[in-house]
Symmetry: C2
Subunit: 253 residues, 2 copies
């Protein structure tokens, strides 16, 4: 790892769309981008979902872009009347928006003669000063302005846009993780985990309860930017789990 | 529908947990609560996901509870050191937090003699002035303080807590929806939809593109609190779709 690598790069993800909030569409992008950023060495610090209302989009974009290194958005950049993301982003940045010659050229080449309609031209509306984000799936580009990356909501298109963006992103040292599976309820190892966390403040210890047919188990996840630090802490957690399992067995007689 | 029914009741959902932001756990609660609230006549207006960091939880809770009729949270109310939601909520409301006698009684009755450990007692820490939310799955209660409902993150437990909360919620007139499936890309009906939306501002028209093996289709979703209004608007959309399909077929010869 290069010493010049910054320790942390942060990001927020903004999902734009009534359909997620109404439950009609089940979001598939949050989990995907969380994995994508974690694997890239970028810390996803916040997600928001807002409706297709200009003021709410503007407010969220401005709150998030001031706070994190990167903002990624999904949704609302299609050709229909309810696609208001591009205009909202322009408003958030206080810049004009118009049909972008580069986007017009991409789309004009894509559609058969006479079929590059006014509605489709709407997908070429890009805020002034933005760079385009390539869309290999359906051509209509996303765009980047400042630290905000504006992508489509359709998962296959968003994923293709993320791939296009990836080489341009500054990344930090990756957080690596290690999971210890514990076949006991988390309350039986809570005291031990608290002590291990206190003894190892540089490793983030998460305890995640699970239920399966009324049977409780736990996954203990250790996270650090220093892979070597996971080894002794995992050993301590494994010892604590083994002790708790033994105690539970002894109690059952 | 009773005339006294308020027109709208709004809500926000706050997901608390590093594991969602890291991608380790894929959220299943947003889609569930979106459906639950929509069916209840409560409009979900915003979702946020924040990490297990007290300041971020406090800030989000205070931003959301001032803005919406209800806030629902999930995650961070277990027995381990990384469960800091209850303390963060107490801080957001500026109230004390301590072992709650009602919660202590529920948990003391649940565990075998001698097994109601200090870690498990931690699950009885409830902000002063809160009401408990019953947990039929694993007993450790959630709680309500002001307009904020604090629930577990494990989906089966969150769902049971929502069922326990449901009878206490004020609800508005339900938004009903009707979907028109269109086997054409949305750009082919965008102009017509824009006109239909302009003619019917009281019905929310959403256009949702889909891809399936590179083939584009569209779902047009009409939403209103007046079921009768969906009928003529759906007819107009169906006519527009039929015209666009016929035009596309004619263009193909």
């Amino acid at each position: 790892m290069d010493d010049a690598t910054p320790q942390t790069v942060t990001a927020a993800f903004l999902v734009i769309g009534d359909e997620i909030l109404s439950g009609r569409t089940k979001d598939k992008n949050i989990g995907y981008i969380a994995d994508f950023l974690t694997m890239s060495g970028i810390d996803l610090m916040e997600v928001r979902v807002v409706p297709d209302i200009e003021d709410r989009i503007v407010e969220a974009v401005n709150a998030l872009r001031g706070r994190y290194d990167y903002v990624f958005t999904s949704g609302g950049i299609g050709p229909t009347h309810d696609d208001i993301t591009a205009d909202s982003i322009a408003k958030a940045f206080g810049v004009a928006i118009d049909h972008d010659p580069r986007a017009m050229a991409i789309l004009a080449a894509h559609y058969p003669p006479g079929e590059f309609t006014e509605a489709r031209q709407r997908m070429a509306r890009i805020p002034l000063g933005a760079d385009l984000i390539e869309n290999k799936v359906s051509k209509a580009p996303g765009f980047r302005i400042g630290n905000v990356h504006v992508m489509a909501g359709v998962p296959s298109i968003m994923q293709a846009m993320l791939d296009a963006i990836a080489p341009t992103l500054r990344t930090g040292r990756k957080i690596v993780s290690r999971t210890v599976d514990a076949d006991i309820p988390e309350s039986r190892i809570a005291d031990a985990l608290r002590q291990i966390q206190a003894d190892n403040p540089d490793v983030i210890i998460g305890s995640y309860p699970r239920t399966n047919d009324g049977r409780f188990s736990t996954q203990v996840v250790l996270r650090s930017r220093e892979p070597d630090r996971l080894v002794p802490v995992a050993a301590a957690v494994e010892a604590a789990v083994a002790a708790a399992v033994a105690a539970a067995q002894a109690a059952r007689g």
